[in-house]
Amino acid sequence: MSAAATPAAAALPAWLRALVPLVLALGIGALILAALGRDPVQFFANVLNRAVFNRSGLQETLVLMAPLLLIAASLIVCFRAGLWNLGIDGQFLLAATFASAFAAAWVAALPYWVAMALLFLLAAAVGAGWAMLPAFLKARYGVNEIVSTLMMNFLGFGLSAFLIKTLFGDPEHPAPQTTMLEVAERLPRIGETLVHVGVVFALLVILAVHVVMTRTGFGLRLRIVGHNPRAAEHAGLNVRRLTFAVFAISAALAGLAGAVEVLGVRGVVRADWHPGYGLLVVPLVFLARFHGVAAIAFVFVFAVLSIGGESAARRADLPNDFLLIMMALILVILAVTDHVASRARG
């Protein structure tokens, strides 16, 4: 079982390959809405009005993209190397918790950008550290990493909640949460907008990851390991060391995603906070065929749906979870059209 990419299905223009299934999925979603007695046109107009054509809504969409892009970058690294790091959610949350726990104190004690740089480094280190046990088990004993990383997620959630309730808790706040980073001290915003510099950082990171994975010797080595570990071993590559490197880089990127979310937007981690972005980004990255630029487009569509869909669902008196059905439809139909497109080319 390999996660490595099959570089098929590029015959149709990329935008068409993405657009046709999107329209189909939205069409089926519209039928479901009509069956429930809601006005589908109004619903989708509400989504777009909220998330794209509204100044603050569009900014919220862009802000939501920052952690998702970093998670996508994290997944691109490990999937291209044939490793399933499904522990992103645990790495994300634990890194966010650590960054948030020290944010207020470090920003007060150090020059601003030094503090921020250290917090990002801390988050990356915590994320990477949380992946070391699965990396070791995989590299040393060949233990399946899907199992071990999924388990580390649950351990990460528990540990994070425990730390917030004990060591990292803000004693002055009644609910268990870390010390709040004041709005003025969060990542600076661009111009007069809500969009913070973390969004640009995330865009640059995913593009850099794409270039490293497709255009450098290091990326090539990782892809060889992903396609055929045994051949890589015979070619003289140190597969064990590369396995550690992949887990460390992938999990560090997931940690950075946690830092961006906390230092850019939230300013605090509550003990019961579980964004669970990881599992949502996995299929997006698959559909982008591990391509960094395509992943940006898919992440944008997802962000529009979740920002706009939230208010549209509320207005239509539907539960927010209705959007999950839309997500599922888009994923399945994208997968089907992808298959049909690659069959048509023979």
């Binding site: 079982m1 088990l137 399946n144 059905i325």
Partner: protein, 311 residues
């Protein structure tokens, strides 16, 4: 006083362990069959949720506990049929479709709950239980251990039944071949598609049954997202068990044990941080992995679609 205290502790512990293990056992046995045949079924969580919803809705409507469970299994199979159509009949990516089905079913059951029950929040009455003769009369533990819903006995009987199926029947051999060398199975004149579809549908039925147990027996009601990751835990247990049904039972009991020790310790008046205790089952699995999981022998063709004639 002390004796009563211990009894309350033991009873809470034993019934908690069974309630937590049983859905994992059913879903884990199902996932094991699917993995054996080469399909990594990440839609299991969605199948359990649909099973929980259908099981609850039908049991509530008809008042029949048996019809409820049948509906739960049927609901799980309906989701499994989608999985089979997309990932067995069509060679789509099992991970993408599995996650999509789980997400979609989370949304669908939450929506259905919103439409049907969000204003009334109905509950089921206590479901019938069967006391095993003699065994249930053992003092202290007997009543809580041997007075169970019939589904519990069925699930336990499934463990040797599955072991027999894998070891001694053609179906079992076909399943294993579909997972490790599908081309060989095809050459032997057996349809890989049919074999895998059978396995996926069986997974759906068992997962749905597990979900229905959670809703109808465990909770007595349906709430959105009520499976809470049990499907993913069952996947992990099935992977660890490497094709041996008895190990699924062991894994499910281990996780159920670690889950219920929290409640039982609270009943006994120990005050330990819940967050740490909730980590116990997962920590246990990591420990087991570190100590014993060294040669994870998964089927060679797991997760790979089968194209006839492709090399």
């Amino acid at each position: 006083m002390d004796a009563l205290f211990t009894n309350a502790f033991l009873v809470a512990f034993v019934s908690g362990t069974i309630a937590a293990s049983l859905p994992l056992l059913l879903a884990g046995l199902g996932e094991q069959m699917s993995e054996k045949a080469g399909v990594l079924n990440l839609g299991l969580e969605g199948m359990m949720l649909v099973g929980a919803f259908c099981g609850f809705a039908v049991a509530l409507e008809t008042g029949s506990f048996l019809l409820g469970f049948l509906a739960g299994a049927a609901g799980g199979m309906a989701v499994a049929a989608m999985m089979a159509a997309l990932c067995v009949a069509l060679p789509l990516n099992q991970i993408v479709v599995g996650i999509a089905l789980t997400l979609g079913m989370q949304g669908a059951t939450s929506l259905a709950h919103h439409v049907l029950y969000s204003r009334t929040f109905p509950r089921l009455p206590r479901q019938p239980e069967v006391a095993l003769p003699l065994l249930s009369q053992i003092p202290v533990l007997g009543p809580s251990l041997f007075t169970q819903n019939p589904v519990v006995y069925l699930a336990l009987l499934l463990v040797p039944a599955a072991a027999w199926l894998y070891r001694a029947t053609n179906i079992g051999l076909n399943l294993a071949a579909a997972g490790s060398k599908p081309a060989a199975l095809d050459l032997a004149g057996v349809s890989v598609t049919a074999t895998r579809a059978f396995a996926v549908l069986a997974t759906g039925a068992l997962g749905g049954l597990g979900g229905a147990y959670m809703a109808n027996i465990g909770a007595g009601l349906f709430v959105p997202f009520m499976t809470g990751g049990a499907g993913f835990m069952a996947i992990v247990i099935a992977m660890l068990a490497r094709g041996r049904p008895a190990w699924v039972l062991g894994g499910a009991l281990l996780v159920g044990f670690a889950t219920s020790i929290t409640t039982a310790l609270q009943v006994a008046g120990f005050n330990i941080p819940t967050d740490l205790v909730l980590m116990l089952p997962f920590g246990t699995i990591m420990l087991v992995l570190t100590l014993f999981g060294r040669r994870a022998g998964l089927p060679a063709a797991l997760g790979l679609p089968y194209h006839r004639g492709a090399r």
